[in-house]
């Protein structure tokens, strides 16, 4: 899967948040998206999945050449896109097992093998994610701790095997053990399938465990710098100040 984000602009109410994002993402690649608070990272993930709170005012998002901006969120998911929510929603009345089974049936259609082995795969994935089997019968995310909700997002991802996933600050609020388990889940798909991911994060910590192929830094609604893993180290050492400085220098040069 190839995702091309071209000059994407979006606003919430009257506030512009994305000011021309250009980004190309492919299955098989792991990208990290970093940037200070309010730079537009989560807005980008919300717009990619069609959250109606945001209004797209320009640009396009092509998935294998097809513009997805007019598609409903579930249609985007059916293409093989996946979003691990920053704040997973509690759904009382729907058990984890039932939810994942139905989602899996829709994702894999008439794949009988997948249907027959569903419970076996679910149990294996839960063991892999260090989750108690009893979660199968609990209502989705209801009463889960923050860490359990995040783990649930990754479990769902393992079951649905997306071609490209966005992890929207999945690492926030996780202790180091939970973080390692989340990373383990991502790395499993990465090793076993043609899987790509955009890992949105504030912290370098998760990137010690999910090694990104590419790193992008977002500032004021734009990607201002892209590079490899070394960017993460630069950020760690110097913070975002140099990005801001560099960016404002660029802006000044443009305005002159």
């Amino acid at each position: 899967m190839k995702i091309e984000i071209k000059n994407l602009q979006a606003k919430i109410e009257d506030t512009p948040i994305l000011n021309g994002v250009d980004l190309t993402l492919n299955s098989g690649e792991v990208h990290a998206l970093m940037g200070p608070n309010g730079s537009g990272k989560s807005t980008l993930s919300n717009v990619m999945f069609g959250n109606e709170t945001y209004e797209v005012t320009g640009g396009e998002i092509l998935v294998d050449g097809v513009n997805i901006l007019e598609m409903e969120p579930h249609e985007r998911a059916l293409l093989g896109l996946y979003l691990a929510f920053q704040y997973p929603v509690e759904i009382p009345g729907v058990s984890v097992g039932r939810f994942l089974k139905r989602a899996s049936e829709i994702r894999f259609g008439n794949d009988e093998e997948k249907a027959k082995t569903f419970v076996k795969r679910l149990r294996e994935s839960m063991t892999y994610m260090d989750m108690e089997q009893g979660f199968i019968n609990r209502y989705l995310n209801t009463g889960f701790s923050g860490g359990e909700k995040k783990r649930m997002e990754i479990l769902q991802m393992l079951m649905l095997e997306p071609q490209f996933a966005i992890l929207d600050e999945t690492d926030s609020g996780l202790d180091i053990d939970a973080l390692k388990i989340v990373a383990k889940g991502v790395n499993k798909l990465r090793a076993e399938t043609n899987f790509g991911a955009l890992v949105i994060t504030h912290y370098q910590r998760i990137l010690d465990h999910i090694k990104p192929d590419y790193v992008h830094i977002m500032y004021q609604g734009k990607i201002v710098t892209s590079g490899g893993g070394e960017l993460v180290e630069a950020l760690e050492a110097e913070g975002y100040d140099w990005v801001k400085k560099q960016h404002s220098v660029q802006e000044e040069a443009r305005n002159e």
Binding site: S95, G97, R98, K101, A115, K116, F118, V119, I136, N137
Partner: protein, 100 residues
């Protein structure tokens, strides 16, 4: 020679109309015996007095005849042990919202 598994596969085409899931996954099939010229099936229903016995019997006879060519299919409706939710496959229980 047709195996019990073959018969079981065929019986998965028979849907319990009340539940909407095939009778194998619901756990209604208790015993299958395959002989040269005859297939014998012990089955139950989810509760005594369930009015679907005749329909399910008819469907079983039909699929076994169509899939494997047996004209002589014997079905025995049995009530021991009484059916319970644990007899359902885990997949079926999830579909219906029961714990597994």
């Amino acid at each position: 020679m047709v195996s019990k598994t073959d018969i079981l596969e065929s019986l998965k085409k028979v849907i319990d109309p009340e539940i909407g899931i095939n009778i194998v996954d619901v756990g209604l099939i208790y015993r299958i015996e395959v002989n040269e010229d005859q297939v014998e099936v012990d089955f139950t229903l989810t509760y005594p007095g369930c009015p679907l016995g005749d329909q399910i019997t008819g469907d079983m006879v039909t699929v076994i005849r169509e899939d494997h060519g047996y004209d002589n299919v014997v079905t025995n409706l049995v009530w021991n042990p009484p059916w319970s939710i644990e007899f359902m496959s885990e997949e079926a229980r999830l579909d219906l919202g029961y714990p597994i």
